[in-house]
Amino acid sequence: MSIERSHKYYREQINSLTRIPSLPLIATELMQVTNDDRLSVNQLLPIIEKDPPLAMKVLKIANSAYYGMHRKVESLRHALVIIGMKELGDLSIGFSVMNTLSDSDDPAGLHWDKLWEHSAGVGHIAQLLQESLGIQTGSSPYALGLLHDVGKIILYRLEPEKYVQIIEYALENLTSAEEAENHILGIDHMTIGSWVAEKWQLPESILNAIKYHHSPELVQEPANQVSTALVQIADIVANLQSISFGRNFQRSIPREETGWVILRNASQKLAEMDFERFVMSIEDEVIVIKELVKLLSGH
């Protein structure tokens, strides 16, 4: 199939309601609320309280190392203040998507927990990197990392057998996932992921992370460009520490990535930090990443 024809075909698949589940109502509700600057914690709280598993996840995240709280965060209200409204919106979307998509069966026996581990790893590293650089992007790096590869799950749902072939092809030929996807299906996970993000009306920052995590320079809005760059570099670091999925990762030169240039312009601290040490230190984070993703996916 030509690229045009496969794109047309998969676009139709995405638009047919039966193949791709819709987002839970609560995610949509939270997206609307958190996008509105005038709303307060008081209006947000009841929505989250309606969904106890979500409330629990929010507390878990607030108590994770990301927010550096010395005392245990026990109330939801406190958690919301620590995390921030917009970030909370991103995170709850992340958890909802994760929930919606991990519920499905695994027709060809791929180990999706590895993909979630990779995604949570990218989120974790992006969050740490953001802190090291002392920047704010107005979105949650953890959530962006969690969702950046969502297109892979979508492709697997649509083409389970072929997706197994894709992973084998990438491993054998030492190519990237997107090369293998384009070779076998005529479409890649960034493209199809961005269609689903549009369909679900996800916020721009998440859409950008899904669509441009291999090319953050194409993002227009400056803050979103920085958050997408965080995801690109974190993705590389995760793969370097073998927090990876279906990929035989080889040589990488982070300083030559477009995301590096974007981050360097956003923060002086990138040039000052010992980036190599940072990369090596992630090895010790693997346990933290695995534990958090286990808690969040509710296993």
Partner: protein
């Protein structure tokens, strides 16, 4: 805590500083204040051997230029830590073995240049250099004889260079993961001692070098790989910069510098290009 340390054998803080500065000046190895006891302990045996009563006498002895060179070399043997083993930091060795070295061989084959120069800049008891020799032998197979692979190890400690030349090792040198394949193919066992076989020993050469001696470093131009693992920690920033600059200068374009697991050139040099691989990174001179 005065046990075994007669009054005269104590190293006063003032004398420590003088001694420390002398050692730093000659070797680049730096002892911060909290290493007074280390120096006192390690050098105490030299006082006995020389029949000296105090560190003050030792210091005076040391400053006599006629004895200095030889005595300093003895000091280096006593103060450097020789803690290494076969296949240490396997992720980085993997990068060398599976990617960097084969790429170099491919490139040299095309260029009809059959020479590769490798230097282990603080070879200690030799495990690192022998590990590299074994991996290279595996990669090139019998074709190794058609190549001119120079594997040179240098160290500041004469004592440890002697040990490396003997190529005989005990259990401690095998505390990393050494496959039985390598162990049976490249070593001869005698009780719990293992001697490296001649085919591998013939591939390597050990020599004395003080890394503070920049002029001698500079005489070794044309290098393709420099292994300098777990050495920089002994140097202060100024010395690090000096040594790394010299390494850069003697490397060929396209050559690599490989540091120890916890080391980076952050704040020391930005002349190299950093290439990352799973679990390890290397510095390339472009």
């Amino acid at each position: 805590m005065l046990l075994g340390n007669k009054n005269g054998r104590k190293l006063s803080p003032e004398l420590f500083k003088s001694l420390r500065d002398l050692i730093y000046d000659k070797s680049g190895i730096f002892f911060p204040e909290n290493k007074l006891y280390l120096l006192e302990g390690r050098l105490g045996s030299r006082l006995n051997e020389l029949g000296l009563e105090s560190f003050q006498e030792y210091y005076n002895h040391l400053r006599r230029l006629s004895v200095q060179t030889e005595e300093l070399k003895k000091i280096y043997s006593l103060i450097t830590i020789n803690e290494t083993y076969f296949f240490r930091y396997p992720k980085q060795l993997d990068v060398f073995n599976k990617t960097l070295f084969p790429e170099m061989i491919k490139e040299r084959t095309q260029a009809a240049n059959k020479r590769v120069n490798i230097w282990s800049a603080a070879s200690s008891s030799g495990e690192e250099l022998f590990t590299l020799a074994m991996m290279i032998k595996e990669t090139l197979g019998i074709g190794v004889s058609r190549w001119n692979i120079s594997l040179k190890g240098t160290d500041i400690s004469r004592r440890i260079l002697d040990a490396a030349s003997k190529a005989e090792y005990g259990r401690n040198s095998f505390r990393g993961t050494v496959s039985t394949y390598y162990k049976s193919k490249y070593f001869t066992a005698q009780g719990d001692r293992f001697t490296v076989n001649d085919d591998i020993r013939k591939m390597v050469k050990f020599d004395y070098l003080n890394l503070n001696d920049i002029n001698t470093i500079r005489q070794n131009r044309g290098l393709d790989f420099i292994f300098c693992r777990n050495v920089l920690i002994y140097f202060d920033k100024e010395m690090k910069k000096k040594v790394i600059k010299a390494f850069y200068d003697v490397l060929n374009h396209g050559g690599y510098l490989l540091l120890g697991e916890a080391e980076s050139l952050h704040g020391v040099s930005s002349a190299f290009k950093v290439e990352h691989f799973p679990g390890a990174f290397v510095y390339k001179k472009e």
